[in-house]
Amino acid sequence: MELLKFFTAGNVDDGKSTLIGRLLYDSKSISTDIIETLTRQSKVTALNAEIDLALLTDGLRAEREQGITIDVAYKYFSTEKRKFIIADTPGHIQYTRNMFTGASNADMAIILVDARNGITEQTKRHSIISSLLSMPHIMVCVNKMDLVGYDEKIFRKIADDYLVFAKKATQKEITFIPVSALAGDNVVTRSTKMPWYKGQSVLEHLEQIPLHEENSPAPGRFQVQYVIRPQTSKFHDYRGFAGKILGGSFHKGQEVELMPSAIRTTLSAIEVNGKEVESAEFPQPVVLHLKDDIDLSRGDSIVPVGAGQRIDKDIEAIICWMDNLPFKPGQRLLLQQNSFRTKASIKNIIGNIDIHSMEEIPNEAPPQLNDICKVKIKSADSVVFDRYTENRYTGSFILIDENSNNTVAAGMIE
């Protein structure tokens, strides 16, 4: 069985939580005691539905009281075909950072649009973020079709508007589905109320979209997380470099280059789960062994000879500022990329990314919460990286404030 991770985004009242609730409810993933609790709570909050499905995802007390979602909630369900992990992210503008969080590990985005309102500023923002994060698949659910008389023209108009806008973004695949999360139309089963729609239901689509892109094989990428040195009599000379393969594959006997030292050696052995194997690939956790006794520590990289990574102390990146306090010029930061960490600072602010046009607008003002901008970063130690569009794990990073220890920005290397 395969695993698909997706995130959902939409405005406050687009019915996102209801859609997720409907997926869980109709796929029979909700247990009876939770339904009992919901039925009890629904009498208090919902006026127009038997069970308020949104209550399934609104976990924290403040959210239940205010009837909004304030943080990313993770939900799980499975069908015979796939296991699904949903990151339910809030729609409010002030929670863009949570959407980044939910989207960073997703294979797919579901964007909700209220059929009565059409494309809004929020829809654009969600699409831009999905595009920036290189989501391979986007599903646009035009929700509340029941409130517009299941009218095909309204659905077509929204899809057309979206495509005009999305041309400016670089999305790979966009699917439009007319739904009513509240009534269950086209969520799990196909609706009889919209005979003009010949496509799949939301769940059918989730079950069949391909998980892997048919690109040329990515180059091998590996970073040392932890050095295993038992120093026992049985494993006297054992020195294994533990980490996860972040891209491509590696095989025993392969010529490799260590980064940033640029020393060349050979992979003498690869272990997966304590057993020696001939080769291993993304995303397996492995222990690599080198032919030569070379000093290599946490955060260093191993790459195939001839498919090396870029290495630099000056990086251009798109960042999303996530801290409540705006960036202060001279702010002392740490850049973390997987297991690699170095001191860093933002040297220049080049411009903001406009959420309407996807264009870069020259701007040097310090980024504030939820701003997406292009910056130049200077690091103390050399960063070994790829472009984000080539590898989302070696091409991304976070910035940490050295004083508060908070994660203040997410970055994608250009």
Binding site: T32, Y74, R97, Y226, I228, P285, I400, T407
Partner: protein
């Protein structure tokens, strides 16, 4: 050549990555071990992450004094078998040293008291990270918790101040006095755990499988094991039932479920049928209010 990884491989890879990040980022981590199936899976994952080396952390058990003897026995045999260090701290000692009120009632729960012992143990050993087996599917508040969850010096969780968690970049930077709770199997469901136990042939305490046991029925109709920890009244009748446990917590607040499941396969088949959630079926402590777990987490609970 296109190869798709099974979802269990992906969940396992994520958990091993997280454990190695803990080893790489912290000076003094610990793995909280309860003897339950989730923490037994954590030990199994740690073996995969660090062997042939030693674990970079001890196993820590907060012993409430109300444990199932079978779970304690399993704990001791497992730690001896893998040759790792086990630290045990007892809630009874905390009650005595801090002059606390012990839990009362027919089914006395030391859940709140356990938090004192946990925080004292973190303080005693200066642990900067504690790995736990909590999963997001267990409860609504847990569904919102990060994998690296920063706690202040009082052990408190602040849901509105959580650090965004992006890609594989786990930020474990803390100031002195703070610590991080780390949940490597956050994204696993109860069924995933059992499928993994089946695939990896992981041994478990026998109370997870059906057995005959003396039980008492609670007001809500739940079955509680008869033990010397309960304060039974005359009108309580003791029944002999064929039961098993879905979670292994304290004998006083973990309910048994009637079951005929003798094997892991039986349990998986049963779970696919049964439509009551794990905590709903077996935990008296979560029934107090809708926000019971959220409140306990804010107070330093796991």
């Amino acid at each position: 050549m296109e190869k798709t990884f099974d979802y269990l491989d992906q969940l396992e890879a994520e958990a091993i990555y997280i454990m190695r990040e803990v080893a790489g980022q912290f000076d003094n981590p610990a793995l909280l071990f309860s003897g339950g199936k989730d923490s037994i899976c954590l030990v199994h994952l740690a073996l995969k992450a660090f062997r042939p080396g030693k674990f970079p952390f001890p196993l820590v058990h907060i012993d409430t004094g109300h444990n199932f003897p079978e779970a304690l026995d399993f704990r001791d045999k497992l730690t001896e078998h893998i040759g790792e260090r086990l630290i045990v701290r007892k809630v009874e000692d905390t009650i005595r040293d801090r002059k606390l009120q012990d839990a009362k009632g027919k089914f006395p729960s030391r859940n709140m008291l356990q938090t004192y012992t946990l925080l004292d143990t973190i303080e005693e050993f200066k642990f900067d990270a504690c790995i736990g087996g909590a999963r997001r599917d267990e409860e609504k508040a847990r569904a919102k918790e990060r994998i690296f969850s920063v706690r202040d010096e009082f052990g408190q969780w602040n849901p509105k101040m959580q650090r965004p968690e992006l890609w594989n970049h786990y930020n474990g930077k803390i100031s002195s006095g703070e610590n991080v709770r780390v949940f490597p199997i956050s994204n696993w469901t109860e069924l995933d755990v059992w499928n993994y136990i089946l695939r990896e042939e992981i041994g478990l305490p026998n109370i997870y499988f059906t057995h005959e046991r003396e039980c008492v029925t609670t007001e809500n109709g739940q079955l509680m094991a008869n033990s010397s920890f309960l304060n039974l009244e005359k009108e309580d009748t003791i029944l002999r039932k064929q039961v098993r446990y879905r979670t292994v917590g304290d004998m006083t607040c973990t309910a048994a479920v009637e079951s005929q499941a003798y094997t892991v396969e039986d349990i998986i088949a049963e779970l696919k049928e049964v439509k009551i959630s794990e905590r709903g079926a077996t935990r008296m402590d979560d029934r107090i209010s809708e926000a019971a777990m959220e409140d306990r987490k804010k107070g330093g609970y796991f």
